[in-house]
Subunit: 132 residues, 2 copies
């Protein structure tokens, strides 16, 4: 099997969370809003997404540590170290975050969304319909 | 922004689904079982995952078409073409699938799971705790 795979960056998040200290720990705890800018090359893929929907967005957490396999859950050092795959820690070999976001408005290549817990400037790698 | 990002393959799925025609359309419709083999280099990340849990697994759908931006939902040609980002189609620029799977058994670097809708031999790129 090939050992490395290439992701394409399809867009970028514009938001007001600029430090990890300021970020909510998970999307289910956030009312923060921002804009998903999808690069023109990929904008045909947005057809069918409308305001009011909840979408699943995959981000690439480009500031994360990719060499850590054990973490304290939620960064709480009083808790025992656990494998990253048993947590939602951003530190992991492939730092892909899954966010469920509500679409507030949509144009040809932008989606205004709420529910963000992700840093401004984070690359977007995929968007999917939520399974209801 | 860098336009391409490198994924690391952390493991591979062993299952009995060998053709797309045989695959359930979504994991919420499947009782199929199989084994996630995590490569030894990454096995410390599994610490804390136990039988009975539901986990979120990200697969890289290596047989998918990465150049398609519009599809007929669920492959039904009587339905209008829609943007891939408004669907769960495997065809998309970054063919990452999200599966929620139940852990039946776990050892140092294998997880036996149920709920699969993914082809045998598919690369695994991440495992996360399910947000309850």
């Amino acid at each position: 099997m090939e050992e490395q795979l290439q992701l394409q960056v399809i867009g970028v998040l514009h938001g007001d969370i600029t430090s990890r200290e300021d970020a909510p720990k998970n999307y289910d705890e956030s009312e923060r809003t921002g804009t998903l800018e999808i690069f023109p090359k990929y904008q045909d893929g947005l057809d069918g997404i409308v305001a009011g929907q909840t979408i699943v967005v995959l981000f690439w957490l480009h500031k994360s540590d990719r060499n850590t396999l054990k973490v304290h859950p939620r960064g709480d050092k009083s808790r025992e170290l656990r494998g990253v795959f048993s947590t939602r820690s951003p530190a992991r070999p492939n730092p892909v975050a899954i966010s469920e976001l509500k679409v507030i408005a949509a144009d040809a290549n932008h989606l205004e969304v709420s529910g963000l817990d992700i840093l401004d400037g984070t690359p977007i790698i995929d968007i999917k319909k939520k399974i209801s």
